[in-house]
Amino acid sequence: MFTLLQIELYKIFKRPRTYIAFAAITALIIIIQLGLKVDGKEYADFVLADLQNTLEINGKIINGYFVCYVILQLLLVHVPLLIALIAADMISGEANMGTLRVLLTKPISRTEFIIAKFLAAAIYTILLLIWIAVFALLASIIIFGTDDMFLVKNAYAVQIEKVDIFWRYIGAFCFAALAMLTVAALGFFLSNFAENSIGPIVATMSVIIVTTILSTMSIPLFNKIKPYLFTTHMVAWKEFFDVKVNDANETIRGTVQNADKIIRSSIVLIAHIILFVGASVWVFKKKNVLS
């Protein structure tokens, strides 16, 4: 199994297209960091304009923690598309090249084969997230420094103390890993049904785009189906950046406002991963491999 995984990883990282995602993410992060470095004050004034009618907000609003949050907000919507490029190619790519049949002549079970392939896609996904963490969080901390984090939400604003932030990012990245693994599992599942990569990649992207739109539209009809869409739960990483307050409206360090929402969404995403990977194993075991 481990040898199989190594082979799959070798295949992933040998392909130039694997590095498109890393390059695209690096470029996007650098562009956002550059923009905020040059015009960060204007951005902060724009975001805080409503609050500044009442309050004077002093301090380093544009700091490394805030910049990382902005990057994640913008980036995590698009990373699924980059993950689909690899995950949706795992089976269909082999079928397209005609190597699938050859591979299955080896003395390994189809379950082992498919699990090894998914694990390779999962490792790629996690490495991509580590890459984002290094560039979006650590590089932003180095460039912009650290301070309290001041976030504006729809109905209120939250100030999180500097010492209370880093663990939230660890939690957020772990949750993002679950969300991205769900995307990888979906792409992987769809790659069972085609003999070229384009179909599953486009299908994965389409599913994500459609469900994301349904998740974000506040229409009563869609509100009923929202809890069942995995894209609704993928954004729950933001919940790490909201704190509870006591009766005197003071924030309580180390708390998360909707911890139950994070747990619920994690369960939903894990269930989706199990469902997609389980379905992939089931489909692949039944599959008549001709290519």
């Binding site: 409503d50 003071e250 924030t251």
Partner: protein
């Protein structure tokens, strides 16, 4: 007719000097408070600041407050972001009372927080002044301001309540509570990129509270030891 005229003259003759006397008393009282405040040429105070605005979740933070005569005032949070009422905190008692160009109107006596106070209204004579009216509640015995209500052109009305302790001889409070009006807060979803809201109807009601409070609890003052001008930049 003649009797009424004589009566009016008598009333004016008695009441007008009384009003004038009261106004003079109020002016003397404000002057005495001012003299007491003027003992302090500068100070650095340490304390804790609490922000209580319905639509803001903020932690209690350590702050340092710097003051230098005549009206330099700076509040710095110890490594963090500070939220202050717009224009309110810089218009501290000292800067209100330092101004000489105002008309003083006595407005009776009132008990504030169990302390008998003289109410004095200060009306700036300068039409360009941001302050429209200040009402001071002065403890005549200790010559300290217990409460002040200030109405400004730009930033609405705010109250400042002060509690005194060991620095009462310098008229420096241990606790200051700023109360101010807040405006509606609503952030477009396109900016926050949050498309669902978990707010309960109770939360929404709470958010509609239009009163904000900033509470400063001072733990220590360093008085008249000099403060560098660079602090206020």
């Amino acid at each position: 007719m003649k009797n009424n005229f004589v009566f009016s003259i008598i009333v004016i003759a008695i009441v007008f000097p009384l009003i004038k006397l009261k106004a003079q008393d109020a002016t003397v009282l404000v002057q005495k408070v001012k003299t007491k405040l003027e003992q302090v040429t500068d100070y650095v105070a340490e304390g804790k600041m609490k922000t209580d605005v319905a639509f803001i979740k903020a932690p209690v933070g350590k702050v340092k407050v710097y003051f230098k005569k005549p009206d330099k005032f700076k509040l710095k949070k110890d490594g963090g972001i500070s939220l202050l009422p717009k224009g309110g905190i810089s218009v501290n008692m000292r800067s209100i009372i330092e101004t000489t160009d105002y008309t003083i109107i006595p407005a009776g006596d009132i008990v504030v927080n169990g302390i008998k106070t003289k109410v004095v209204k200060l009306l700036p004579n300068n039409d360009n002044s941001d302050i429209v009216l200040s009402t001071l509640y002065i403890d005549e015995t200790n010559l300290i301001i217990i409460k002040a209500t200030t109405t400004t052109k730009e930033n609405g009305t705010y109250n400042i309540e002060m509690q005194y302790g060991k620095y009462i001889n310098y008229a420096l409070p241990d606790k200051v509570v700023f109360s101010f009006n807040t405006k509606d807060y609503k952030m477009p979803k396109g900016i926050t990129l949050e498309f669902d809201s978990d707010l309960t109807p109770e939360d929404r009601m709470k958010m509609k509270n239009k009163k904000g409070r900033i509470e400063l609890n001072y733990s220590s003052y360093i008085i008249n030891k000099g403060v560098d001008d660079s602090v206020f930049k």
